[in-house]
């Protein structure tokens, strides 16, 4: 009888599945965040007054229990940690998949892969670049195409009136839609919530729903700025 080679690290919390669990949990934090963030952004449709006072309100929530911008900083730290975890797990598993098949097939025929499932890694990398750009743009105001006004509303409108700024955001939303389409389903699988055929169908439908609602919702803003409705 063949003997079993002793496995060095038996801790399940160090396994590939544990990495996927971390990716799913951090992904869920992102989904919660992008939904809340979208709600805030759509206030652009209510005009400058509503938008700017919402932005200010975010900084004063919890006062005096929390300092000025306190909640915002808590959210930022949670998101940064989630991002670090998500990206670490993604690239670790990507490298691992590369090593699992070092000799490639001469012929491959994919019969069951959605486009979104095939673009998770490069699409995720695009999202990472976009997140960096987005923070430099609206948060840190390092790149300020169009406007560097102290009114968030004026910066938003000023930059989206420039076609290529809007284009960057719209492309990023397409990438986000794809990532959410597969990511939602994949997270449900990873969390072990899809043990029946109907649960799997629902997880897939939820993926489409979140993709359309979130990416569509965000996209309304640059589109309506370009159309001159938000000005």
């Amino acid at each position: 009888m063949a003997t079993v080679t002793a496995v060095k690290n038996k801790r399940s919390s160090r396994s590939t599945i544990a990495l996927k669990l971390l990716m799913a949990l951090s992904g869920l934090i992102f989904i919660g965040y992008v939904l809340a963030h979208m709600y805030g952004n759509l206030k652009a449709f209510s005009g400058q007054e509503a938008f700017d006072s919402y932005a200010e309100h975010l900084r004063t929530i919890g006062e005096p229990l929390l300092p000025y911008s306190g909640l915002l900083w808590i959210i930022r730290i949670v998101l940064l940690v989630a991002l670090a975890v998500h990206v670490y797990a993604a690239y670790t598993l990507w490298a691992r998949a590369g090593k699992a098949r070092t000799t490639k097939y001469a012929v491959t025929k994919r019969v069951n892969s959605t486009w979104s499932s095939k673009t998770m890694r490069w699409g995720g990398t695009a999202l990472l670049l976009f997140i960096v750009f987005h923070i430099l743009h609206f948060t840190l105001r390092v790149v300020t195409p169009g406007s560097n006004s102290d009114s968030p509303y004026e910066r938003l409108v000023g930059s989206f009136e420039i076609w290529w700024v809007s284009a960057i955001y719209l492309v990023a939303m397409a990438a986000l839609a794809m990532h959410l389409r597969h990511g939602t389903w994949s997270a449900a699988q990873t969390l072990g919530l899809t043990n029946t055929a109907s649960a799997r169908r629902n997880a897939n439908l939820l993926g489409y729903l979140l993709a359309v609602v979130i990416a569509g919702g965000y996209s309304l803003i640059p589109v309506f700025v370009l159309a001159g409705v938000i000005s």
Partner: protein
């Protein structure tokens, strides 16, 4: 039928190997894919060339040894094993590329034959139940709920062929693992060792060098036994439970 075959030839594990092209005539539509290769090998024997090495045993779809990647699909274009695939699934004059399973955990031994003992080691790590020997226990003393028994039976059809790994873009063996975890985890006999089983089998899976799952689903499409993706969800759920229980 006349066919052009591009077949992976590799002398030994150290050899670099490469695709070699063969012309084969007189193939009947009613031949199985393996019989077609038998005909080719007879032809090679006559010309003094070494026959193509490929794995096979039962030739009736139950042993899981006939591992061949046919035109980029594990076990070819039908939902079945290579031994149960017939030449009527191909067209006269077609070019067919035949490669071994590609996964570093399944190294090539020769030509199309791979070493799949990594699966045996995963099973040895926990894919069993411990039972005392002696007289057989009374079958009705351990009731198994019908729906659970059905699910266990359905996924117990996994023959360990490795097509799921071969088809997976990540080289993951999650479908195989999930089938075993679900099979034993659904039955009362599988409960005592449930946490330790999933922990050990997943650790062995990772140590063998298989990739992580990204829930793409090529595995289930390639599986000759149509093991559904929900076994991977079950695997993840069982591992999550094991972690919570301190594994």
């Amino acid at each position: 039928m006349n066919l052009t075959l591009k077949i992976w030839r590799q002398q030994n594990p150290a050899d670099k190997g490469g695709l070699k092209t063969y012309e084969l005539g007189g193939v009947s539509e009613d031949m199985s894919f393996l019989e077609m290769l038998d005909v080719l090998n007879e032809q090679l024997n006559e010309t003094g060339e070494e026959p193509v090495a490929f794995d096979h045993d039962c030739r009736e779809g139950i042993c899981g040894s006939c591992a061949l990647m046919i035109d980029g699909q594990a076990h070819g274009p039908e939902v079945t094993t290579t031994c149960q695939l017939h030449m009527r699934s191909f067209k006269d004059g077609q070019t067919i590329t035949i490669e071994p399973w590609r996964a570093d955990a399944f190294p090539v031994i020769k030509d199309l034959v791979t070493d799949r003992s990594a699966f045996d080691r995963i099973i040895q790590a926990g894919g069993y139940i411990s039972a005392n020997t002696g007289s057989a226990p009374e079958a009705n003393s351990v009731p198994a709920p019908r729906d659970k028994a059905t699910r266990a039976f359905n996924v117990a059809t996994c023959i360990g062929c490795g097509a799921c790994v071969a088809a997976c873009p990540n080289g993951s063996a999650s479908l195989f693992l999930g089938a075993k975890i679900t099979h034993l985890g659904e039955l009362p006999q599988g409960q005592p060792e449930r946490d330790g089983r999933v922990a050990s089998m997943v650790a062995q899976h990772d140590a063998e060098g298989f990739g992580g799952c990204t829930n793409i689903g090529e595995c289930t499409a390639a599986c000759p036994k149509e093991i559904p993706l929900d076994v991977i969800s079950q695997l993840n759920k069982d591992l999550r439970t094991a972690i919570r229980h301190g594994h």
